[in-house]
């Protein structure tokens, strides 16, 4: 008897600080070394600065600061993934790249009710196997929209 295919969604998964996060793979263009950033005056704290990549100026976003979960540190092993939503492109800090994961849609649990402000930017949560921590799946499009609104509204 043929098994019925379970619909899946592909996520780019990474670790930053103590968080394991996932972003829909269609929102990720590429991954690069963080390199040296140029700080910008008077930007929100979650904008760490800008970097140049392939002739484009990329704002670099610290998700830990954005989600009020601490702050990212740039080291020699730090990576940036180039995230895109519509016409907006940004570099996002990742301490470790966990890779692309195909996750059955039925395994994605809804974001916790009554969670903190970070929960409003989650698509859901997927429980990892074994002793591994859960992966929080980000609504990257909404996250970038909020980031732009926060930046402009100051």
């Amino acid at each position: 008897m043929a098994t019925q295919a379970r619909p899946e969604q592909e996520f780019f998964c990474f670790r930053v600080g103590d968080l394991r996060l996932g972003v829909p793979s269609e929102n990720v263009l590429e991954v690069l070394r963080a390199g040296l950033l140029t700080p910008l005056p008077r930007t929100p704290s979650f904008v760490m600065g800008v970097t140049g990549h392939r002739g484009v100026v990329l704002p670099v976003v610290d998700l830990l600061r954005f989600l009020s979960k601490g702050e990212a540190r740039i080291g020699p092993r730090t990576r940036l993934f180039v995230g895109v939503s519509g016409s907006f492109v940004a570099g996002v800090v990742a301490d470790t790249v966990l890779g692309l994961r195909r996750i059955p849609v039925s395994d994605i649990l809804p974001p916790p009710l009554g969670g903190d402000a970070a929960a409003e930017h989650l698509l859901g949560v997927v429980q990892a196997s074994g002793t591994q921590e859960a992966i929080n799946l980000l609504n990257f499009t909404k996250l970038l929209q909020t980031a732009r609104q926060r930046a402009v509204a100051r």
Binding site: T38, L40, P41, R42, P44, V47, G52, V57
Partner: protein
Amino acid sequence: MNDVLAPEPGTDEVDILFFLIGDALYGTDASQVLRIDRSLPEDITLPDLGLPHRGLRALVFDTPEGEGHLKVDAVNGVRSIPVAALRRMPAAVAAAPYAVGVCLDEQAPRPVLLIDLVETAKTQGRH
């Protein structure tokens, strides 16, 4: 006000004057700079650009209200930079109005922030 990212008609390069405030390297349209002078205590300092170590020099520029003086630590010279290496600041980051763009210069290890000197005077509110 000069547009720091606008080249002279018929040219594809802009003369950028590079300067240091503290350890941070910045650039500005060299045509905005009237002269480099000794700094005075009342000259402009913008904490957002970093505090000068000693700030013994000042970039002097013209504004509608008179001369403006921005305190700097050192001037690293003027180089002609291809317009193709200059980028406007992404609007989405909502940076300070005097941070008008960046220079993706191969000789610099990181993008160099381009400063509109006249806007620094407006931000400071005095000259």
